[in-house]
Assembly symmetry: C2
Homo-oligomer: 397 residues x 2
């Protein structure tokens, strides 16, 4: 039946060769020469390749993508405000969100991504149209990749009256998280901004995920406001700070204080491996107990022409930007794209242990670090026991 | 005959569809519905794909690569001195230079690279062995990719007595350029270092190519010493500064003065799109008339696990690190990997005009910027009219 599968001769996380038996979409057994889970079950030869758990993109913008459309030269100015204006000006010219998000989801699936957290724009002009479009696309792809949604006030919240109510309506319509955006730098009132989005989250049992580009001491101070509200509302484990550029540049003492608070409140940090500035101090955050996850951010959209949906490439960019050379460091970058993402998003049953969901990727490679720098095509992608991309089953028992 | 070819239906630099007729290894004609250059000539269908001139890697280290060998975890410390020591310690364990360099040249050819400038280590311990190894590999690949050699004092020159004489011997053995390395930061005496390498260059009609990591005002001052010697010895157009990190951070007035002098003496700058620090100001250098070229730097070696030999990927990294979003900016990054490299290295007959060497790459893509961000596999690679990689000829006239 669908969800039953035997994957033979793979090396979990680059370890020893084993078979993996999947029943009802979960890993039932790991070991040598396992029997197939049933007479009609699909059997795939792994040929000694690497086995990883499915990649997790913890910070995407599915509604923005131009993936699958004819090339569109970038038309925005260099500042954040100009980029926001450029998107507002041109997004009406684009095909429906559901179509574009679907195009990109297909690329994600082919690259072995099995779970995505996508921010989705909400503003008074477009209302909930983008949320509805992504909900439609995620329904269409539900058997291939799971998608969770952050209602995201891309144009600001306080500065765009009506947005606060739309964020709440988006959560009621199916968004799992309330988003925020530079409470000081964009919205001009960090206390009011954070009180509003934490309030919506607390009322609806939703998570919180805040884009924080605000830098230096300003950003650090906003992190403290986020920690305070997480603690006061009992939202430990439900809050994410995306980008968090301030953590790359604050003084060591401030960093240590913030990292301790983030760890205590289980507030995760999402990075997208920014091309500029100091990279996020991955090792120090990890050592402090802070969950760090990785996202593609926008992929070929009105903001930027870059990106492909391949989290292995994104892990390479993160490792390269971090000047990681040793295997254990490169593997740390890969971890942010797999188990780090699962930890940050609180995914149940993620991993390669017996009992975990069978969200699997098989790919050639001598080991994890080599796979990150080589980024080979995926041989097999499995979502909840179903083959969703890559090599077809070579034998059927 | 070999070197005769008709490539049909390609778009040079993303322009209109045309045929390209190649005779004796050079472009003979561009136009609609051209005749093949002879009854026995090979004819390739371009299917409307992009046509670019062959990629130029202007800064490689062929002798260092581990390409094609089993994975070897990185073993060096983080500083320049530790990385130099790590290489000296472990290089004896590696297979011969000619074999490793050949492995990498095959990857370069498949990726459409048709010309490479490689630095090759020279020091008293190894003597000229690496030079000889790369000379052997380049001879073996001479019909597929042209390689020029810089004799490179990786361990320092003044601090490693005997190296100066070896650099001169390397030029006599076939190296086209004399290399240098941080005349202040590594060798401790910039005047003596530069006088020595410029002296060898002047005596032998060789070029000069200096690794300059020294930063800020120190690096800027060394650039002035390089300009002085280029001018005094009449070496305009024969000198390169590799990396030149100092140009990214000096004050505007100093930058303008240095850029003017570099342009006047036709001293080129090679970048490798460093993962850290401020990227080289490409647009400002170009506007000042300075030739800027792109290199992979080391590929999977004892210094770093990264790199693939694909200059289109390197152009993407340069554009991404430079925060280039607009087509004309992304195309500027691509230019450093093609015509910029040819200009910096003084390559004769480079380009897509009638009379140029037929060093050609055909690849899918809507346009140049799209090709950089997508980095599709190469459909066809031609060196001097010979098909050296990609699709086989689909018809023969």
């Amino acid at each position: 039946m669908s969800g039953d599968l035997l994957v033979k001769d793979v090396r979990p996380m680059g370890g020893s060769v084993t078979d993996v038996r999947v029943r009802d979409g979960r890993i039932e057994a790991l070991g040598q020469r396992l029997e197939a889970p049933g007479d009609a079950a699909t059997v795939v030869e792994g040929r000694g390749e690497l086995l990883l758990p499915g990649f997790v993109d913890a910070h995407a913008h599915l509604d923005k993508t131009l993936w699958g459309l004819p090339w569109r030269p970038h038309s925005g100015g260099p500042t954040l405000a100009e980029l926001i204006r450029n998107e507002r000006r041109h997004r009406r010219e684009l095909p429906p969100v559901a179509q574009r998000a679907g195009n990109l989801l297909a690329a994600y699936v082919a690259a072995g991504v099995t779970h995505i957290r996508s921010h989705v724009d909400v503003d008074p002009e477009a209302g909930l149209a983008s949320i509805e479009g992504v909900l439609e696309a995620r329904e269409r792809f539900r058997d291939r990749v799971t998608v969770e949604i952050v209602a995201f006030p891309q144009s600001g919240m306080l500065v765009e009256p009506g947005t606060r109510e739309l964020l709440e309506a988006a959560v009621e319509a199916g968004a799992e998280c309330v988003g925020g955006l530079d409470p000081a730098g964009v919205d001009g009132d960090p206390v009011e901004h954070l009180d509003a989005i934490f309030g919506i989250a607390a009322r609806h049992g939703a998570g919180v995920d805040i884009h924080l580009h605000d830098c230096g001491e300003l950003g650090a101070w906003e992190v403290r406001l986020i920690v305070e509200r997480t603690r006061a509302l009992g939202l430990a484990g439900r809050v994410m700070i995306s980008h968090a550029f301030c953590l790359s540049i604050v003084a060591d003492g401030v960093f240590d204080e913030l990292a301790r608070d983030l760890a205590e409140q289980r507030i995760a940090v999402a990075t997208a491996a920014s091309p500029r500035g100091e990279p996020l101090p991955l090792r120090r955050l990890r050592d402090a107990g802070v969950a760090v996850c990785l996202g593609q951010d926008g992929i070929r959209d009105l903001w930027s022409p870059y990106g492909t949906g391949d989290m292995l490439e994104r892990a390479m960019l993160l490792a390269w930007r971090s000047s990681f050379r040793r295997d254990e460091d490169v593997e740390l970058a890969l971890e942010t794209a797999t188990i780090g993402g699962a930890r940050a998003l609180g995914l149940e049953g993620y991993g390669l242990d017996v009992g975990c969901h069978a969200d699997l990727v098989v790919l050639p490679g001598e080991g994890l670090a080599e796979a990150v720098v080589s980024r080979p095509p995926r041989s097999l992608v499995v979502k909840r026991g179903r083959i969703v991309a890559g090599r077809r089953a070579s034998t059927v028992a």
